[in-house]
Symmetry: C2
Subunit: 200 residues, 2 copies
């Protein structure tokens, strides 16, 4: 089996949500696994002077048009969240807790968190919503909520943030295929061509 595809993202990134609908199937077609790496994009922004799209004049308004159009053309359910952006620290920490303790539940939890935010307009910064998602993944929610407040899990997420910045991640979603970077949902077709070239 070839190297996994690294998939860095922030749970508050709508383009990462769109990519989360496609990356599993795309990777599998080329015999690859996917390493999901939720992170705090704000840390990367601090390194690059980037800003959340919605805070940028003109570009933020355009992004809303582009997102709705892109989701429609891709056939992926999407609605603009009424609260945006949200704090995604709890969701990211929960992912790493699951990865350590119930690895089979980690990606389903992440996919459900994305769907809750971008298809169902739920507030994934809310502990109750995180608890619901954990219960949906068949995991003891109380144990999870307690675990994500521990220093070990906080440190795990910090280490991923640092690793992402060190690898040049500056936006979300951000992928690496055998070390080659691909940024954005709109680069999945290029990633597919590259995967095909490598497989040939």
């Amino acid at each position: 089996m070839r190297e996994p595809i690294d998939f860095y993202f922030d749970f508050s990134s709508p383009y990462a949500y769109l990519a989360s609908h496609r990356i599993g199937e795309l990777a599998e077609r080329f015999g690859r696994a996917v390493t999901w790496r939720p992170m705090m994009l704000g840390v990367a922004f601090a390194a690059t002077g980037g800003k959340p799209l919605v805070e940028i004049p003109l570009k933020g308004d355009y992004a809303k048009v582009d997102l709705v159009r892109t989701a429609r053309l891709a056939g992926i359910p999407f609605r603009l969240p009424s609260r945006f952006p949200l704090a995604t620290l709890a969701a990211a920490r929960t992912y790493y807790w699951l990865e350590e303790t119930s690895p089979a539940a980690a990606v389903p939890f992440a996919a459900a968190a994305f769907g809750a935010f971008f298809a169902e307009d739920r507030d994934i910064s809310d502990r109750e919503v995180i608890a619901d998602l954990l219960a949906g993944a068949g995991v003891d929610a109380a144990v999870g909520l307690a675990a994500i407040a521990t220093p070990g899990i906080k440190e795990r997420l910090r280490a991923v943030n640092d690793e992402a910045v060190a690898r040049g991640v500056f936006g979300s979603p951000f992928f690496f295929v055998d070390g080659e970077p691909f940024w954005g949902f709109d680069r999945l077709p290029q990633m597919e061509l590259r995967l095909a070239e490598i497989a040939a």
Copy 2:
């Protein structure tokens, strides 16, 4: 005939160069003309807090990888210019002078200026290069170089910049199809789908 597609760009934008290779054929397929609108992207950046890609840490380095890859996959000749970015005021003013005085030469001049910069690594901020390109378009270069220093042509470009910002242009290339905005070479497939929907 339907409304023309508006094509705003800065001559220093490599993604606009790539788009310049496709937009004519794409528009024609749907019975549309293209209104080429060279502008000073710096004016839009002043309004949005944007910056040239190459000046942004990490993102600038990634853009070089992405550009070469995107051009290769699209089959468009491209090399990273050795001098970048360049002042594109003279090229933009020359375009508007041609549009007024020799309209049939304006788009061929713009296409040649893009190719000089991004395929042949020539310095299009240089008056000699502009003179060459004018001569190549069958136009008296000395008359052109004199004309672009006149207040009328300067004012024409300023008016386009103002109009672009007023319409929400914040990047290059930037298109409008019946008022709907599309930003980026990578959005041409979406524009094509929209043109097809309108034509249906």
